[in-house]
């Protein structure tokens, strides 16, 4: 009984920082509809700033003052980011802003490394709260009790702010309908900035308040990001009580998981999330997302049209040029081009789902890595030849997509995205944990192409044929009746259904198709590298694809592969420099601000303005 109570208290104490960070993310999303990937970075900044202040400010007052100040400083940094980076892109297509926040992550990572150095910083202990209290003979740290006491206070203050003050009324109004709030004469941009300040300050507070339980290090930002998203989604995006309850549930379950199923640490919270979203598709306290949010922001989608003869000829010339790489280039050029082609197919498959289907997936790496592992497992255990493994990879990935899609498509919007992320993470932990079969994170090695394809040149041609063919197939599918139905479901599910289209089934098929195409890329990937590791299933891989699709342009046909090719080429070049993350981050932010419709979309606009290209209107 004593132990049980002590464990409960540990869980409640852990929930403190988690709730503060999660409530900030929830607020920001609720009002601005921005999925702030950089939220973990603000948490990390809070820890570093708090640590520095604690070195300067003495005693108990200094300690708590440092925590408060850290929150305010991080909030102000958030304001700078909001004004400089996000404000210019509010009118961009939905979710485009997350690309900008991804750039912010990279910039903050390198700046933090520059300012505070690489070594982990151990957080100072809270003055006056260093000891333990014995509750029913079990030791409980005093600071844990302090956290348990503070968190409801913060939660209450937030609740009061949101429900009882004028600011809170405006925030709630903006959460429900921001256009209307704007129409009623409220200065939206300052409301957004204010909410961003509050959200970031909460993240900073969370980072500073956990210092006595840990410290500050450079991996904090990504480490907390997934748990925070999980908490926000379980609680319901935009709901504060939901965030509190979810933080408590996750933290307490985690403590018991550690004691009674020590290996569950990787998967537990994702399982909880899947279960909650199966029964409550919008989280515990979330409301259904306002219908018609899609297409409200930014320009309406243009109708797509089949390529004319000149375009086809130009594509053919482009392919021939690519085919000349082995003759004109070096061995390494072939390897680099192979890498880029595989990534392009992966990005194009996500683009098909995202651009044509309006289905934003945060877990597309499940199918890329899934295909890679299917091929690798068959080669390792059944000595399957490469040719057969390359066919089995998309079949395996497609099958996984059929199953995962069935569950995920019960939700929509951000909840759908988070479910895909959860499944990617579950697949990742399966591969990671099941070391006897998958090799765990030691991976599967020595998986090389058949003898005829073992030279870099032959493998490059093989990749070129499959990837270019795959991208063309995806493009072809967009023009087929299936593609039309898919776009109808994206633009207006209700009207599409009235016309007799089974929208869910169409989206399901698209999900499986995109998954299988990602599997093709995954299969090629294994044989080009000779090995596969769980990294290919990681969230970071999914984000890579997501970022390039947005950078390339969601509302264009070629955005996926153009974004993939440019991003990979630039990254290959930039990583040669010391502070490449800073440079890449700034570049991404620059592209986001200058080309809010993505590279292809903005080039098309430019072409039209210069009169080089016909506008879509003329062709109709």
């Amino acid at each position: 009984m004593g132990l049980f109570l002590a464990q409960l208290l540990t869980g409640l104490a852990n929930a403190g920082a988690l709730f503060m960070v999660a409530s900030g993310l929830s607020l920001i999303f609720g009002v601005t509809r921005i999925v702030n990937f950089a939220h973990g970075s603000f948490y990390m900044l809070g820890a570093y700033v708090g640590w520095t202040l604690m070195q300067v400010l003495p005693g108990m007052v200094g300690f708590w003052g440092a925590i408060l100040l850290a929150g305010i400083i991080v909030g102000l940094i958030g304001v700078i980011v909001e004004i400089c980076v996000l404000r210019p892109v509010y009118s961009a297509p939905e979710l485009f802003q997350l690309v900008a926040t991804f750039g912010v992550i990279l910039v903050i990572q390198d700046l933090t490394l520059m300012i505070w150095g690489a070594e982990d910083l151990l957080g100072p202990r809270a003055p006056g709260l260093k000891g333990i209290v014995r509750i029913m003979d079990e030791p409980v740290p005093q600071y844990d009790l302090a956290l348990i006491a503070i968190t409801p206070f913060v939660a209450f203050a937030l609740w009061y702010l949101i429900t009882k003050t004028r600011v809170g009324i405006l925030v709630r109004a903006a959460t429900q309908d921001r256009e209307m709030v704007g129409a009623l004469g409220v200065n939206q941009s300052w409301l957004f900035t204010g909410v961003f300040f509050l959200g970031c300050a909460l993240a900073g507070l969370g980072g500073a308040v956990q210092l006595p339980k840990g410290g500050a290090d450079l991996l904090m930002d990504f480490n907390i990001l997934t748990s925070v998203f999980v908490v926000v989604v379980i609680g319901g995006m935009g709901s504060l009580p939901g965030a509190y309850l979810a933080a408590v549930i996750i933290s307490v379950l985690n403590v018991f998981g550690v004691s009674y199923m020590p290996k569950s640490t990787l998967v537990l919270m994702f399982l909880v999330m899947v279960v909650v979203l199966m029964f409550r598709p919008f989280g515990l306290f979330g409301k259904e997302e306002v219908a018609g949010e899609h297409g409200q922001v930014g320009e309406p989608e243009r109708p797509i049209k089949p390529a004319g003869l000149p375009v086809r000829l130009l594509v053919a010339v482009g392919l021939v040029l690519l085919g000349l790489i082995p003759i004109l280039g070096s061995n390494f050029t072939e390897v680099l081009a192979t890498d880029i082609l595989i990534f392009c197919l992966f990005a194009a498959s996500l683009h098909f789902m995202l651009g044509m289907g309006g289905l934003v997936s945060f877990g597309h790496a499940a199918f890329f890595g899934g295909g890679a592992y299917v091929a690798a497992l068959f080669v390792t255990y059944a000595h399957t030849p490469m040719e057969l493994a390359l066919i089995l990879a998309p079949l395996g990935a497609g099958l996984a997509a059929v199953i995962i899609g069935w569950v995920c498509l019960r939700s929509t919007g951000v909840y759908f995205a988070m479910l895909t992320l959860a499944f990617a993470q579950l697949l990742w932990s399966l591969v990671f944990q099941w070391g006897d079969i998958t090799g765990g994170d030691d991976g599967l090695v020595n998986i090389w192409p058949s003898a005829w394809a073992s030279s870099n040149t032959v493998f490059f041609y093989l990749t070129l044929v499959i990837c270019a063919g795959g991208i063309l197939l995806l493009r072809h599918a967009a023009h087929s009746p299936f593609g039309y139905a898919l776009r109808a479901a994206r633009d207006s599910a209700r009207q599409a259904e009235a016309m007799g289209i089974n929208t869910k089934r169409i989206q399901w098929v698209a999900f499986a198709f995109a998954g299988a195409m990602a599997g093709v890329a995954g299969g090629l990937f294994v044989f080009s590298k000779g090995s596969v590791f769980p990294n290919e299933l990681e969230i970071a891989r999914s984000f890579d694809a997501l970022i390039v699709v947005f950078l390339g342009g969601v509302k264009t046909l070629s955005g996926g592969w153009v974004g993939g090719a440019s991003f990979e080429a630039v990254k290959d070049y930039l990583t040669r420099f010391e502070y490449w993350r800073l440079a890449l981050g700034l570049l991404i932010i620059g592209v986001v601000i200058l080309a809010p419709e993505g590279i292809v979309g903005s080039l098309r606009k430019l072409g039209e303005r210069l009169g080089v290209l016909n506008t879509g209107e003329d062709k109709r």
Binding site: Q7, T10, G11, A13, N14, L113, A118, D120, L122, K130, P141, D144, G214, G215, L218, L219, N254, V258, P262, T265, L266, G308, V311, L314, V315, V317, G318, I325, L328, G329, S330, N331, F332, T333, V335, L336, A337, D339, G435, G440, D441, D442, G443, V445, N446, K529, G530, S531, F533, N535, E536, V562, A565, S566, A569, T575, W580, R581, V600, G607
Partner: protein, 405 residues
């Protein structure tokens, strides 16, 4: 729609521009070594490692280089991504004119490079990766490893543990391959030495995401006589703090794999645990009697004005090993270097080590000692250097573990 072709052309042109062959070896031209590492993702470990290499290069080139040519390292960042590392390996070997590869801290990246090295017949020296698989189950004739593997270091601690009366052990290790290998090796060796030991709890926190309060409670619940710790970095700091606060370590001996390395002990400052039996690097304790060890520490501090980490030593020894191998080979041809590495003796700060012919593992050992607090900082006392050669399985077992030869 011309934009599409324009872009393709642009990409094509960029690709072509980046292909001009640059490497043509001449006498007097530097001998290039490709070094791939996670300089950003694991900056705290990679920076001292790189500084160790640079110190060694300065000394080697000051003495006239290797084969009369200067030795040069090309440092490249792989973001901790195995796929990226393989691409960079290809570029270093086929375009930049590197004669062999080295690098990586993370075991999975090390295994990825080892795999491509075996396939493409490039020599790869895995300096830091600890996974047993690098030289055993996934070993190949072209891959060599410098540091004492997980098995060797765990065996050293198990030997120390077997001498005590403790019977009930609890383990805590990060939930990934290194943690699992470390626990398995410790169990195997300890059970062999002392068959009546019992393992009463196994905790597996996610790497760098430890919930230390809960882990400490779970360990306490099992009431072990002794604890075997494999956590490191921020996990270790949190574990030590919570364990100390809640009295987990009172009256229990803790065996800590790598816990005594400056990388992990220094951030703990005056909260470093006392009385743990650990592997580590007691650079502060070297006296003139320790000869080369002391000389290395002095030279490092003189050059960089900071104290060495274990990574500094490993980087330094890696560069020394490569220089020795190329000198012995008498050429920069891959097959010559590979043959030279087999059975290669190298004089290093920790003494003479040999790259074993049987499994390409170097006999570098580890420092084992007890932690203590001195002037507000954690240090190792009563330490001794254990030779790695004494902590490897018998030749027959190694042959079984290494299918490739």
């Amino acid at each position: 729609m011309q934009r599409k072709t324009f872009l393709k052309g642009l990409i094509g042109a960029a690709l072509l521009a980046s292909t001009a062959p640059v490497a043509f070896a001449q006498s007097g031209e530097p001998i290039k070594i490709g070094e791939i590492n996670h300089y950003k993702r694991m900056a705290a470990f990679a920076e001292p490692y790189k500084k160790g290499i640079e110190l060694a290069l300065e000394e080697i080139n000051g003495d006239g280089g290797v084969l009369g040519r200067p030795l040069e390292f090309i440092f490249r960042d792989d973001q901790g991504d195995p796929g990226e590392a393989i691409k960079i390996a290809e570029e270093l070997m086929t375009r930049d004119g590197a004669v062999m590869l080295t690098g990586s801290i993370l075991s999975n990246v090390g295994l990825a490079i080892a795999s491509v090295a075996g396939e493409k017949k490039w020599v790869y020296l895995a300096a830091e990766p600890l996974a047993d698989a690098v030289t055993w189950s996934a070993g190949n004739p072209y891959t060599f490893r410098l540091r004492a593997s997980t098995y060797m270091q765990a065996a050293m601690l198990a030997e120390a543990a077997a001498k005590t009366d403790a019977v009930k052990y609890a383990t805590i290790a990060p939930n990934y391959a290194y943690g699992k290998d470390a626990v398995a090796a410790f169990k195997e060796v300890l059970t062999k030495l002392k068959p009546d030991v019992e393992f009463v709890a196994e905790q597996w926190p996610a790497l760098f995401k430890i919930d230390s309060g809960a882990e400490v409670q779970a360990l306490e619940r099992a009431k072990p006589d002794a604890i075997y710790n494999v956590t490191f970095g921020t996990d270790l700091a949190k574990f030590v703090r919570d364990g100390t606060t809640r009295g987990l370590f009172d009256g229990r001996t803790v065996y800590g794999l790598l816990s005594g390395e400056p990388e992990y002990l220094e951030p703990l400052a005056d909260e470093a645990p006392e009385g743990w039996v650990v592997t580590g690097y007691p650079w502060y304790d070297f006296t003139e009697d320790d000869g080369a060890n002391k000389a290395f520490v002095d030279a490092y501090q003189a050059k960089w004005n900071e104290t060495p980490k274990i990574g500094s030593l490993v980087g330094y020894m890696a560069a020394e090993s490569i220089a020795a191998a190329i000198a012995k080979a008498g050429s920069t041809e891959t097959e010559a270097i590979r043959a030279a590495f087999e059975g290669l003796p190298v004089e290093t700060p920790v003494g003479s080590i040999t790259y074993r012919e049987i499994d390409n593992q170097a006999t570098m050992g580890a420092f084992v000692g007890t932690t203590a607090l001195k002037d507000g900082a954690g240090v190792m006392v009563d330490w001794s250097y254990l030779d790695g050669a004494d902590y490897l399985p018998s030749d027959e077992e190694v042959k079984k573990l290494r299918p490739s030869e």
